[in-house]
């Protein structure tokens, strides 16, 4: 009898484990009620009404400004979409289900970038028609005011950059993310939202192909154009070739001719561009950060990193300051590694220790542990 019970229990556990592994998580987002926050709603609305307007090219905006848009206090921002950006579909996004800005949609980062990592996709932006379809599915056209936020400032930057590239004319990012929103005392909601699909984006996508630099162009221009600077937004260890920074890249180094733009402590942050509270640094602070770098703001700055996330943050910071001599070399170190004959540098190019070779000659074993 005992043996029978044990066998039955084990059998049941195995069937349940198998079934759970093959099924999708349940969607209970629509059943939760709205959460209350500490601040009084009337005070918040009053604050929102006093918020100043911002320029169309302003990217990083305060929670108070976003709240004022939601409350209808910003003229010209009646047609808006708020999106919480993260990886995975809505069912795989616990942060969204736990609480998001009122009316916010969930936006999968894979709606703007490739997820296959193969030679054709290389984690670059998706094809224009695919990005356009995703935008339209959320009801976003070129005239829609888009406000994005998420846990990862680089991931949100990636989506914002993709939207600007596609042609959305007014894209904002909630500065400091949901933490700043909570700190301001504004409400969250847990009910999942879906946008009303639009039919026509209103312009050819991408409207700004110049924001995107292919690997071929990056290689050619960094070798032949003095004013073109390929700016590495990677950690010091990545820049010096001590590690690739990623557990899925086995070789370390940088494209030959690249200059360092700092920005990160690891492959997964943009700490140098952020204050301690997670808000973006000011333009003056950015200039101070770059004061000893081997480029100026008069150069054409093409930012890159591992796969094009971190690079979008300085792009957006300069974009909102009105710079047009900027772009993102999207493929980053990941795509560069796919070409054995591409030139690389390992070490600080200003030092005598810097080694020059090709990707194929690089030693392996440099993946992040």
């Amino acid at each position: 009898m005992k043996k029978k019970i044990v066998s039955m229990l084990l059998c049941t556990a195995m069937v349940m484990s198998l079934a759970a592994g093959c099924s999708s998580p349940s969607n209970d987002a629509g059943t939760d009620s709205k959460e209350e926050t500490e601040e009084d709603g009337a005070d918040a609305a009053e604050d929102a009404a006093e918020v100043e307007t911002v320029e169309q090219r302003t990217v990083y905006v305060s929670p108070a400004w976003v709240k004022s848009v939601i409350d209808g206090g910003q003229e010209g921002y009646e047609n808006y979409v708020i999106g919480e950006v993260s990886y995975g579909d809505v069912d795989a996004s616990p942060d969204y289900k736990e609480g998001h800005l009122p009316g916010a949609l969930h936006i999968d980062i894979c709606e703007v970038e490739d997820a296959t990592g193969d030679e054709e996709g290389a984690y670059n932006l998706l094809k224009a028609e695919e990005v356009e379809q995703y935008l339209l599915s959320h009801g976003i056209t070129k005239d829609t005011k888009v406000i994005l936020y998420g846990q990862d400032p680089a991931g949100v930057g990636r989506a914002a950059y993709g939207y600007l590239w596609a042609g959305a004319e007014d894209v904002k990012i909630l500065d400091g993310g949901i933490d700043a929103w909570n700190k301001a005392g504004y409400d969250l909601e847990t009910e999942a939202n879906e946008g009303e699909a639009a039919q026509d984006f209103g312009t050819a996508v991408p409207a700004h192909p110049e924001y995107w630099v292919s690997i071929e162009d990056a290689k050619d221009r960094v070798a032949n154009e003095d004013n073109f600077k390929l700016v590495s937004i990677r950690s010091k260890e990545e820049w010096l070739g001590e590690t690739s920074g990623y557990n899925y890249m086995d070789k370390a180094g940088e494209p030959e001719g690249a200059v360092w733009g700092k920005g990160a402590k690891t492959a997964f942050d943009v700490a140098d561009f952020l204050h301690e509270d997670g808000t973006i640094i000011s333009f003056d602070e950015l200039k101070e950060l770059w004061s000893d770098c081997d480029f100026t703001l008069d150069n054409h700055l093409s930012f890159y990193c591992g796969t094009g996330w971190r690079a979008t943050v300085p792009f957006l910071m300069l974009y909102e300051e009105g710079y047009d001599n900027i772009s993102v070399y999207d493929g980053g170190w990941y795509e560069w590694l796919m070409h054995d004959d591409y030139p690389v540098q390992v070490g600080d190019p200003a030092s005598d220790d810097c080694e020059h070779m090709t990707v194929g000659e690089l030693p392996t074993g440099k993946a992040a542990k």
């Binding site: 039955m8 084990l10 069937v15 592994g21 995975g88």
Partner: protein, 141 residues
């Protein structure tokens, strides 16, 4: 002794299934995980003929499972109810493993190449468990 061995094999099977579940769970939720999985897929495809191996492994488990079931059916007079349950479970798990191997792909499930051997290992352990049960049941009262 046999009982301990069965429990050990069952627990190991659960561990493999749980491992497969965990890989798929995090692959769907963590970008870093999916990229590592893509990297591993690429490495596996470069280093070994995975498409040949996966069918060979599935065929091997299937053949063993069929032989085990045949032996089990032959010993009708000696088998007990828990053994029947476990034999049915083995058959279901083997069928699930074959289905996963044939019907799924790297495109439909990113962690395909990592989850598949986990399910295969669980199925194989259950085949071994049932094989032992079949070979030893005649000695029991």
């Amino acid at each position: 002794m046999k009982k301990i061995l069965f429990v050990f094999l069952d627990l190991l099977s659960i561990a493999f299934l749980a491992g497969g579940y965990a890989i798929q769970y995090f692959t769907k939720r963590k970008l870093g995980m999916v990229r590592w999985v893509v990297f591993k897929n690429k490495q596996l495809q470069e280093q070994m003929p995975v498409d040949v191996l996966k069918y060979a492994a599935a065929a091997f488990v299937l053949i063993l499972a069929v032989f085990t079931l045949a032996g089990f059916l032959k010993k009708k007079a000696h088998r007990k109810k828990p053994d029947v349950v476990m034999a049915i479970f083995m058959a279901a798990l083997t069928a699930g493993y074959l289905g996963f191997t044939i019907l799924a792909s790297e495109n439909s499930i990113r962690s395909y190449y990592l989850v598949m051997p986990m399910i295969g290992a669980a199925a194989l352990l259950q085949v071994i468990r049932n094989m032992i049960a079949v070979r030893t049941c005649k000695y029991e009262k």
